[in-house]
Symmetry: C2
Subunit: 205 residues, 2 copies
Amino acid sequence: MAGGGAAASALSSPWRALLQRALDANAHLRHSTYFQLATVGAGGRPANRTVVFRGFQEHCDKIQINTDARSNKIGEIRICPFGEICWYFTDSWEQFRISGIIDAIDGSSADPAKLQHRERAWFASSVKSRLQYLGPQPGIPILDEGRVKDVDIDPSAGPVDAFCLLVLDPEKVDYVNLKNNQRLIFTRSKKEDGSSDWMAVKVSP
Amino acid sequence: MAGGGAAASALSSPWRALLQRALDANAHLRHSTYFQLATVGAGGRPANRTVVFRGFQEHCDKIQINTDARSNKIGEIRICPFGEICWYFTDSWEQFRISGIIDAIDGSSADPAKLQHRERAWFASSVKSRLQYLGPQPGIPILDEGRVKDVDIDPSAGPVDAFCLLVLDPEKVDYVNLKNNQRLIFTRSKKEDGSSDWMAVKVSP
């Protein structure tokens, strides 16, 4: 589920090695791939929820998250595309705050490459987890509890309309290790050729 | 550290009983009192960090968090006082999203009752954790690593300038239990006499 391990070491982003080390050190914990994603919601208020890390996009640092296109956050992200992940590793006492721009990719995207990423994310998730996208819209009142609709899914069928892939492109990573009290802030800048350059500064925790 | 247990059962807020049950069920985990607090920071972007639950304020549902008055979030909260806590309990698979208004109380507050709450929070924290407020300002670059200043603190001395108490007053609580797939949304309304009324709605997860 975590993924991106092999690619991490091949990349220059200096925080990727730290993150991969934390993922490895906490891999025995189911929740080590869960983090909290903050966005700005209705009325300019912050919104915060636990989501699952679905790996990095190939050959880059973009972080993938699966979500339901019918949840509030999709509309909110389209209005304000900024996000900050807070990823706390409970065994190694390390925190990564990763901020960047979020792209919400549903079936209406006009970009074939993005649609392909969405399709790959769909097939990379378990058949059981795909079933949730066939259930009722998240957050709507349950009026008729007695009627539980049996849903079935063809494992070879592509993504359903409710399936949305979120892709966060990191711009800044604030890392802190509470065991040795070290804190590093990584900031991205774009080079002339369009590639990324990361600068690291050691700061007080 | 968790606190507020006895008070919880005496209160009418229906989500308090659920939260207390989750705190009890996860009490064996050090990180069960850690949660992620999202606010809106510079440029209207979301900010998200792990903080420690310091209990409820007496006789009410307000959630207390200790922080450094010199961190960015204080200025940001004064501009946009909205916050959303995301509290995920890793053993019982329960999530509480608690949103509300944050009051940042530092030594400059003109309200004697608030200053008293701040003083109580100071003395309720360990002497070791008080030491961090005497260290360098969080987030500033470390230029001189060789010079580690020895700091000492008088255990009977009151809060230092850098100590700030955050108090979040919950307005909405979105609870989900991933083991039984139950989700409840609690919304607060104010009654004519100024007291709070909570409404619960069962929604699809």
